[in-house]
């Protein structure tokens, strides 16, 4: 069995030690750092990308929030503007109503007073006419002029009884 040939042991051990340690040095100094660098770089790149994505997401969320906030503000502003205009309009119409009312009232009372004056005038005229008519009638009937005072008293009683 060649495995038990002791004369070959020394060369195998020596060459094993040389080659194994050569490989170990290559591994330790060159291969392993290169591979671990590459893996680390990839891991960093991935982490970076993930972080960036998270950041972008956060930014997008902030933008949405700002947009919604401004939207709500605009809506509120529009509501208050509408309410303002409504109130103004209501005030204006109320003021106009009131003005019109007082104007109408004034006109009404004016016309009432003018009507009353006209009635009074008319009534005075009626009285003068009645007195004239009465005195004329009495003169015709009696053939004599009747005292103006009597006539006016008679007209007075007559109009009073009519009223």
């Amino acid at each position: 069995m060649p495995q038990l040939d002791i004369s070959t042991f020394s060369t195998q051990i020596v060459w094993l030690v040389i080659t194994f340690f050569a490989l170990f040095i290559i591994m330790w100094r060159v291969a392993v750092p290169r591979i671990s660098d590459s893996l680390e770089q990839r891991q960093n790149r991935m982490d970076d990308s993930l972080n960036k994505a998270a950041e972008f997401k956060k930014e997008a969320e902030a933008a949405i929030e700002a947009y919604e906030k401004s939207l709500a503000e605009a809506r509120e502003a529009a509501h208050s503007a509408i309410a303002d205009v409504n109130a103004k309009l209501l005030d204006e119409t109320a003021a106009k109503d009131a003005e019109l009312g007082t104007k109408l009232k004034a006109m009404l009372s004016e016309s009432e007073s003018s009507i009353a004056k006209a009635t009074e005038n008319a009534m005075d005229n009626v009285r003068v006419v009645a007195e004239e008519v009465a005195s004329a009638a009495a003169e015709r009937l009696l053939g004599d002029a009747v005292d103006a005072g009597v006539v006016s008293a008679a007209v007075d009683t007559a109009t009073k009884s009519r009223n």
Partner: protein
């Protein structure tokens, strides 16, 4: 006899394990000749270096096939250490990765026709196992000082068991390099011998040689699996010993 003739021609199943001196060298009284074994050790080192360094030459963010294989082997061993030893095993990564790649490529090189499998020699596997054993023991003693010797007395064992248990523990500890080296050596030896024996049958049986030939094809697949498996076993046992050294119990 035909069989004897074949054996006589140097085609015995064990002939493939013969150490052939290519360039005789002598340092003092020590034989350091360049042999077929040393040629394949050098070839293994060159192949691993090429595989790892060339694969990472154009290190890309998205790895190609070659780079993926390199990274996969790295991650495989890194996870193995993390699972068996934990984060304390990180400094020993280059060494354990070296052990794994050296044994794996040595085994796989042996699967090529006309090659020599240096892991089929007990002196090689035993030297490696002894190195692992001594290294691990030194790490344990450096880390735990005299407390290292409590390793041979598992906690929670009654004192009267100590006279029986401590010798057993010491023997099992000392037999680690033997079991580690014999496992790898015996697997390689048995597999390659079996293949050679059946390869002899292929020609000896003429037309019926197709049967052992089919068997050899299947066995080749199995041997490649074993090449991986034994490298893995050698590495994981190294990790377990390292774990014992770092954490004792």
């Amino acid at each position: 006899m035909r069989g004897n003739k074949i054996l006589a021609e140097g085609h015995s199943p064990l002939a493939q394990f013969e150490i052939k001196t290519l360039i005789p060298l002598q340092v003092g009284d020590i034989n350091v000749s360049l042999t077929n074994s040393s040629v394949f050790m050098v070839a293994t080192v060159l192949a691993i270096s090429m595989f790892l360094v060339m694969g990472m030459r154009h290190s890309a963010l998205v790895p190609g096939r070659w780079q993926s294989m390199v990274e996969l082997s790295y991650i495989f061993i890194a996870n193995l250490i993390k699972d068996t030893v934990g984060s304390e095993g990180r400094p020993y990564f280059p060494f354990i990765f070296t052990v794994f790649m050296f044994v794996l490529f040595g085994n796989l090189f042996g699967m090529l026709p006309y090659t020599f499998t240096f892991t089929s020699h007990i002196v090689v596997t035993f030297t490696m196992a002894l190195f692992v054993f001594l290294g691990v023991t030194l790490i344990a003693i450096a880390k735990h000082k005299l407390r290292f010797f409590t390793f041979f007395m598992p906690p929670g064992v009654p004192m009267y068991m100590a006279p029986i248990l401590i010798p057993i523990e010491i023997i099992s500890y000392l037999s680690r390099p033997i079991s580690l080296s014999v496992r790898l050596f015996a697997n390689m030896l048995a597999g390659h011998t079996l293949m050679k024996v059946f390869a002899g049958f292929v020609f000896a049986l003429g037309v019926f040689g197709i049967a052992p030939w089919v068997f050899i094809v299947a066995l080749t697949g199995l041997e490649i699996v074993i090449a991986f498996l034994q490298a893995y076993v050698f590495t994981i046992l190294t990790c377990l010993y390292l774990n014992d050294a770092l954490h004792l119990h």
